[in-house]
Subunit: 490 residues, 2 copies
């Protein structure tokens, strides 16, 4: 992509003024249109050293409403960032719908010094664009001679000389080699939905004009597309509904749940003894975890009244509260809804040496959101691989990931519901919604089966816990966690 | 994905008969529906040794119209396959629209013995599903004990004992390790559009029923989706047209062509001398290419009357015709139209030691098909990365890839058109269509600029050839080819 660029393109000041006058007005209008249509925008600036990224960002934001954008300058990796997977620092910074975030260097920065994983980059961008985000990526380029000229000038000036590093000079010497490396990176990550725009950076008027013009084009197109989709939705709503109602083939599903032996149980005495022993070992392991900086993610899902809360309580009882966090997950709030559905979970990822226990999880996407229609089929059906990708990033960054499905049968649930209704101190735990969910048991069961099969990976497995006996379930959870930690830490 | 499978699932013969009676009828109906709706289907069977892939394929095809499907059994890599990039053997075997191709082992086979490139696999499948293909992937699984039992049984029978290899026994011993490897592969390649179905293979009734049931479900859904899309297209046609007509922002394009110096020329004497010398070197290089088994792909694009034919002629004049093929590319025929647009080019890829010269190329997708609307925007805009992926596969397999854009300006074209009209022996070369294309010069120029920037990679570069002087252009082409070959071969 870089081989054919004529870096010396330029334009006259009067052409620039004429063109920009129109462009800036349109740019501002489109910022408002994107806000109204709830379109999030991510803008990435990368480029050669001294190619003018900072200058370009400054010029770009002149035309924007400052309440609608934010600029992130990527410095050195901070300590809290180094303690989490690579994409944590970016995922937590994605814009909410209707806003624009501008990155002065981004997830591509690593590509200069070390090999970043192209698969992770492509997965990340695809996930966001499929969720409706505009991603605009600029690569600023200047010639070897121009780069040398600029570096020399910076160095001569005592106020700016600190900005020129030995690495910069080295890169200038190896200009051709650098270019070839960037070229490969750009080609591999130039996709239909998140394409690169190479910007000829010698003449700043030309570069500014090209950048704003590209922004306008991309935003214009996105607004058109969203408008068109809204229209289509209105028009075809009836037809669509008609289609959906056609009877479904009985799917021959991967039934994991059918084979679960729910009669498993354990005596109270043995329960008490085992619990005490396991909790003691867990505390020791928590210290080891901390010292060896191993982070742990525990995910809990299961039927209403299945006993998630009880199992979590037996885990945390003996642990040091400074080392773990229980994250209860309810319906997303407005800010969370305005982001990609995984954003609020990335935000809660534990740092090295810590544990996060999720009481309900990101799997809501393929359970409640699927069943209740909060996510469209095209959305939840791509969630399996999005979730696998996310968990794999955790595992590759050294995390222990365990996922528990606490399983009970329909009769046991009914018994527990009635018990809650008849016990004054438990009545708060049972609502109309629980009964409504229960009516959809079969649909949920199908969704759970599919979820477990498609997201149970060798390094982030699902553990199905036989939950009709609460004692049995709690011990199985404790035991699984202790064993997994011992295997890694001892 | 494999960890949670209960391989011993089974079903009663009478349940099987009852279920299959309905399923087989529906399966046959859907085969006809897919044919009618022009939906191509690719079915992949993978699995553990002795898990019953062959048996399952035989049962599946019982219900099908034999004119509509074909089974491919993946044997050892043949010599002509080894002489081309990995995906050549698969790309050339994809079904045309409306047909079903069934693969007894597939591109995943390599995953057992060596690391296949997951990026290539994902790119390949995504390219096909985006083009409307159904891809159904089955993984057959049995337990370690069952596998041993089956291998022992095969070995004891003198007629089948040859089928059991030392590798099979080794794999059985390392069952858990194998499983973990497969699991990773399956998880990485389980996508929303081409998901894996793991089939519990111990009970053949159960397995058959699950396979047919999955096929029915996938085909049912695809037929519904295509029908729905047809409906939508009808309904929103007017709205859509309206939207398209809105004025486009003047795009600030990556102008490569504007900077070309078309005044470059060369004297006739020098031309003759250089040509003679270069052609001599080219013949020597062709022999070297053959001996060192290096394959070469030359791609020619350019304006009508730009001089592609003349340049190609000067290349081939001196070469041994057994070592190269000139591939003229016209509008696709019916068989070609019924496949993915890249299929007809994969079919012409030269084998090791040979050269293919394409007179017009796969870039038609982003030139004529884009301008004339033969490809929708969502189709041609993803073609850049599809093409980059393809060429990268060539380069990784050791191919030399050079792409020439023969450039002339609008005035020169007009001069040549008139010359053709006024010269009796050249009149066949000029048609009404040439004039029509010329009227869209500006649109084409924009498309060429975008093409060159987005697909000029370090290893498969575009060479823009200044073509107003035919002598100059021919020498530049010859020189470029000779230099590239010398660099690799000398």
């Amino acid at each position: 992509m870089l081989g054919q660029i004529d870096v010396n393109k330029s334009m006259q000041k009067k052409d620039y003024d004429k063109k920009m006058e129109k462009l800036e007005v349109r740019f501002g209008e489109l910022q408002r249109a994107c806000k109204e249509k709830n379109i999030p925008i991510t803008v990435v600036f990368e480029g050669l050293d001294a190619a003018g990224k900072g200058t370009m960002i400054n010029r770009m934001i002149q035309s924007l409403d400052p309440r609608g954008f934010k600029v992130f300058t990527l410095g050195r990796e901070k300590e809290d960032e180094a303690m989490r997977p690579y994409f944590w620092r970016f995922f937590t910074k994605i814009p909410e719908r209707g806003r624009m975030h501008i990155f002065d260097q981004s997830w591509y920065k690593g590509g200069y010094e070390k090999d970043i994983s192209e698969k992770e980059v492509l997965d990340f961008e695809q996930m966001l664009t499929e969720d409706g985000m505009i991603i605009v990526k600029f690569f600023l380029m200047i010639s070897k001679e121009e780069q040398k000229r600029r570096l020399d000038k910076l160095e001569k000036n005592s106020e700016t000389s600190w900005r020129v590093t030995g690495q910069d000079k080295e890169n200038n010497k190896n200009y051709e080699k650098c270019l070839k490396k960037y070229d490969r990176l750009l080609v591999h990550t130039d996709t239909a939905n998140a394409p690169w725009t190479v910007v000829e950076g010698t003449d700043k008027l030309y570069a500014t004009c090209k950048i704003i013009s590209t922004m306008v084009e991309r935003m214009e197109r996105a607004v058109k597309e969203v408008t068109k989709k809204e229209e289509e939705k209105k028009i075809i709503k009836d037809t669509g509904d008609e289609m959906e109602k056609q009877e479904e083939t009985t799917s021959f599903r991967n039934g994991v749940l059918q084979g679960i032996d729910l009669s498993k149980t354990i005596e109270h005495d043995e329960y008490k003894k085992k619990k005490k022993d396991l909790q003691k070992r867990l505390l020791t392991l928590q210290n080891k975890m901390y010292l060896k900086r191993v982070p742990v993610v525990l995910a809990f899902e299961g039927w209403d009244a299945g006993g998630k809360g009880g199992a979590i309580k037996r885990l945390t009882q003996a642990m040091d509260p400074r080392g773990y966090e229980v994250v209860p997950v309810a319906a997303p709030n407005d800010i969370e809804k305005a982001h990609h559905y995984l954003w609020r979970f990335w935000d809660k990822i534990p740092k090295a040496g810590h544990m996060a226990i999720f009481d309900r999880t990101w799997y809501g996407r393929v359970l409640v959101e699927r069943i209740e229609g909060f996510a469209a089929e095209e959305e939840w059906s791509r969630a399996y691989s999005e979730i696998n990708n996310m968990e794999e990033q955790f595992v590759n960054a050294g995390y222990i990931v365990l996922k528990f499905w606490i399983h009970i049968d329909k009769e046991e649930q009914e018994r527990r519901f009635h018990e809650r209704e008849n016990t004054p101190e438990k009545q708060w735990k049972i609502t109309e919604e629980d009964w409504r969910n229960r009516a959809k048991w079969d649909e949920y069961e199908k969704a759970v089966d599919e979820m477990i099969v498609r997201t149970s990976t060798a390094d982030a497995p699902w553990i199905v816990v036989e939950g009709n006996s609460k004692y049995y379930a709690r011990i199985k959870v404790l035991e699984t966690v202790v064993n997994a930690l011992e295997q890694r830490l001892m």
